[in-house]
């Protein structure tokens, strides 16, 4: 491009003029907050990536499909930004015993194709999701409901044929009338209603069940947004959502729509935000973690969400059995300097863990008895290690391996932890790298790892139980390290059967005290979400799950 001297001069004048008018506008907006709000019909552009599955709520189990589905649908309950579950389409959810539930559904709301949302929309959708032949990724969310075994036809590992289910519908799920659902659970679970805001429990219009495949391409929902048009999901490129004008729930859209642009790499998205070519991103490139606060002095956010990272100790490791094993677990936990690692390696984008759950869920307690073991104390760690060696010595020359997957960028902190152990305990420790997450998972499942494994968990619904049950209960689905303690299981059951959430949380806290004794895994830190946004938008925040509250974003 060529610039003459005159055009350059004109350009400078124009920039100066813009700057001056900019100042003027800024000065004038002092006398009324919110008055400067921009175009309410602005379509927000947001970072995302190609969803991994068709957009059926019960088949969406990853973040990029999840954020779309959450905007397209409204369930019986929804979560407010702090993670509290509030009634949405449910008029009331009542249970005398935590096992039998009567759900009253609000009448008069509609899907965006005009079909009314009734109790039947929920019952049919749930039966569809639970039936094993439909192969929905979230089908296991219905396992608490009575009759799940009959529709899920439990396959064993290694099966090549799906066994035929013996029933098409859940026997514990009864459509009473147009606005009433009766649910019977296999056993009392007081926190069951907390799950109803999760995408697996969304209602579906009848068209969805008639042709799920076509529906997954062009989903029709009842949420604050709808697909902009037929084919609004442009594969490998973007998904366009527009405001659903008929929506009347608590998450009403304050902008004209959201376009999710797909990036396979977070770096170009970050550059786009700097150039105001994209409005908001919730995934930062690693090298930006140190600079995002200075690159975006006003427009950034660093907020904890319901996810954590742990170092898991397989139950079969011979050096970690019995009394010596217990002492070693404690020693290692106390030898890890969580404060320093989160500060230096993560630039403050993780928060040192104080328990096995997350501060983003209701009932969180940072002073659970025994949680001292997570505090860094090199001298005490060394002492505990020597006590363990006195009982049964650490094999000479043995290196403690810390397994991690490199596709998630874990090397730096694993190395830091290994150094902590080397310096503070005087043992050999090193990272054991696996190229892919799936590879590490296979080894964890087959119980063949020679050492510890890194793990991470993100809650599906805001409950302490969701961090404890699926991961640590005997035989639980994601309990890969095989931890089992009947006392812990008993407290979980008591918590689930409790009459109120507070009683339940008290039991779950008690259960955590056992975990601090046994240390089946070492809590490391809580996850936090970093978000940056452009000069064109404001009111950006993230919710309990770390997902941006897209509906609240407004134009500047």
């Amino acid at each position: 491009m060529r610039f003459t001297r005159t055009s350059k001069a004109l350009g400078i004048v124009a920039i100066a003029a813009l700057a001056l008018t900019g100042c003027g506008a800024g000065g004038g907006s002092n006398d009324g907050a919110g008055q400067s709000a921009g175009d309410p019909n602005k379509v927000i552009t947001a970072y995302s990536n190609e969803p991994q599955n068709p957009l059926l709520p019960a088949n969406t189990n990853e973040v990029y499909g999840g954020r779309v589905v959450e905007l397209l649908f409204e369930g019986l309950t929804s979560y407010d930004p702090s993670g509290k579950s509030v009634n949405a389409l449910a008029e009331s959810i009542e249970s005398p015993d935590g096992q039998n539930y009567t759900i009253k559904v609000k009448t008069g709301t509609k899907f965006t194709n005009g079909e009314e949302v009734t109790a039947k929309s929920f019952v049919d959708a749930w039966n569809f999701a639970a039936l094993s032949t439909n192969a929905q990724a979230n089908s296991s969310f219905f396992q608490s409901i009575e009759g799940y075994e009959a529709v899920s036809a439990t396959a064993k590992e290694g099966d090549t044929e799906v066994p035929a289910p013996t029933s098409e519908t859940l026997s514990g799920l009864v459509l009473k009338d147009d606005s009433t659902i009766e649910v019977r659970l296999a056993q009392p679970e007081a926190d069951w209603p907390l799950r109803l805001g999760y995408v697996a429990f969304m209602p579906l219009p009848s068209a969805a069940l008639a042709d799920p495949k076509a529906y997954g391409e062009n989903p029709v929902g009842n949420g604050p947004y709808k697909m902009a048009k037929e084919g609004a999901w442009q594969h490998d490129s973007q998904i366009e959502l527009v405001k659903n004008e008929d929506y009347s729930g608590s998450r009403e859209a304050k902008n004209g729509g959201v376009t999710f642009r797909f990036y396979t790499d977070p770096a170009p998205a970050y550059t786009d935000i700097q150039a105001n070519n994209l409005d908001v991103t919730d995934v930062l490139p690693t090298n930006a973690l140190q600079t995002y606060t200075t690159d975006f002095p006003e427009n950034h956010l660093n907020k904890p969400y319901a996810g954590n990272a742990t170092l898991n100790i397989p139950g079969y490791l011979p050096e970690f059995q019995g009394e010596a094993g217990k002492l070693r677990r404690q020693a290692i936990s106390k030898a890890i300097n969580r404060d320093e690692i989160t500060k230096v390696i993560f630039s403050g984008t993780r928060i040192p863990a104080k328990d096995f759950t997350s501060p983003a869920v209701d009932g969180y307690n940072e002073n659970v008895e025994g949680s001292d073991v997570l505090k860094f104390d090199a001298a005490k760690a060394k002492e505990l290690w020597e006590q363990a060696d006195a009982i049964s010595p650490w094999p000479a020359g043995k290196t403690l391996q810390l397994a991690y997957n490199t596709d998630g960028g874990n090397k730096e902190w694993i190395d830091a932890v290994a150094n902590n152990l080397k310096n503070n305990l005087g043992i050999q420790a090193e990272g054991q790298a696996f190229a892919k997450f799936a590879e590490l998972l296979d080894l964890r499942k087959s119980k063949t790892l020679p050492g510890f494994a890194r793990a991470g968990w993100q809650a599906d619904y805001p409950s302490l139980y969701n961090f404890l049950g699926p991961l640590l209960r005997t035989g639980a689905s994601a309990n890969y390290e095989g931890y089992s303690n009947p006392e812990f299981d008993k407290l979980l059951n008591e918590g689930l059967a409790a009459k109120s959430t507070d009683d339940a949380n008290a039991k779950f806290t008690e259960a955590q005290e056992i975990l601090f004794q046994d240390l089946p895994n070492l809590p490391l830190w809580y996850q936090a979400r970093q978000v940056v946004w452009s000069q064109n938008v404001t009111n950006v925040d993230s919710g309990w799950k770390g997902v941006i509250l897209y509906h609240n974003i407004t134009a500047k």
Partner: protein
């Protein structure tokens, strides 16, 4: 001539079988169960795993899977990927974008490389020549992604003349930045190749003859020097087309171009064997056909070369 083309096309068959078998095997040998990987830490019910495995034939032994894949290729039905999308549809989406990017990059490097090389060659030893030579050395020394980031930051963010990324609207105009950064790497080679060739041809007998019989300078330069100098350049350009299409993976990443490279990268991350092999198969075809075209162009440019039988 026709026979020659046919023979070259027949060679495609073993090349195609060999590469797909190799790539398919490598994907198959990738560690980790791709179906479980779809679910992260949170395992689905076993019935779902079995159903998905069955749907994508992942429960079959390697050669059965490969055989089914070949059958699909020859019936022109590539099947669906893990998102339920027909693979043929996603190929039809990404290949035109990358082809556009590659052709634009090729055009940029050809036009500028040949022009600068010609002028530098004609003015051998002059200031322009030395400057261009030095500059091209610098360009060769700098990796492509550095140009990508610099162009993106300076032109896209600081000056704001163009959008820093491409995204959904991939057109000739929006692809200028990525195409330029992609072209810069080979541009210097084209330039140096042209220059060397021009210098050599300036002293050739036919050029002296042409000048001696009184042809105008432009005519000597264009029909005699340039045309003969283009032979090695065309070979290089043709060979680089395949490389541009396959090698755009880095550039596409920097500028978020929804092309082949991005799709391939994502498919590898998600262990989607059929998509990876389908993309590689098409890339193989592009390579082979580009090379064939180069050989044919050769004959056209240089009548001394004849393809007998």
């Amino acid at each position: 001539m026709i026979q020659y083309i046919l023979r070259r096309l027949l060679q495609v068959i073993p090349v195609f079988l060999g590469t797909t078998l190799l790539v398919y095997f490598m994907v198959f040998a990738l560690p980790g169960d791709p179906v479980r990987a779809l679910f992260g830490e949170r395992p689905p019910s076993e019935a779902v795993i079995v159903a998905i495995r069955q749907q994508y034939n992942l429960d079959q032994p390697f050669f059965v899977q490969y055989g089914l894949f070949l059958k699909n290729i020859f019936t022109l039905n590539l099947g669906v990927d893990f998102t339920g999308q027909p693979i043929s549809a996603s190929l039809a989406r990404v290949f035109p974008v990358t082809a556009m990017l590659a052709v634009e990059a090729l055009a940029i490097q050809a036009v500028f490389g040949i022009a600068f090389g010609l002028v530098a060659g004609l003015r051998k030893g002059k200031l322009f020549d030395s400057t261009v030579l030095l500059a091209s050395l610098v360009v060769i020394a700098v990796p492509v992604f550095v140009f990508g980031f610099v162009l993106q930051l300076v032109v896209g963010v600081q000056l704001g003349w163009a959008k820093p990324t491409v995204g959904s609207d991939a057109e000739w105009s929006t692809l200028v930045l990525p195409a330029t950064s992609l072209a810069l790497g080979s541009f210097a080679y084209v330039l140096r190749l042209t220059r060397a060739s021009v210098i050599e041809n300036m002293n050739a007998d036919y050029v002296r003859t042409a000048t001696a019989k009184g042809l105008s300078r432009p005519r000597v330069v264009v029909t005699h020097i340039l045309r003969n100098s283009l032979i090695p350049v065309v070979t290089y350009l043709g060979a680089s087309l395949g490389g541009l299409m396959g090698g755009a993976i880095v550039t596409e990443g920097i500028f978020n171009v929804p092309g082949v490279g991005q799709k391939l990268y994502q498919s590898i991350l998600r262990s989607e064997g059929p998509t990876i092999v389908a993309i590689v198969s098409v890339l193989v075809l592009v390579f082979v056909i580009a090379n064939l075209l180069v050989d044919l162009l050769y004959a056209w440019l240089d009548p001394r070369i004849r393809y007998e039988k």
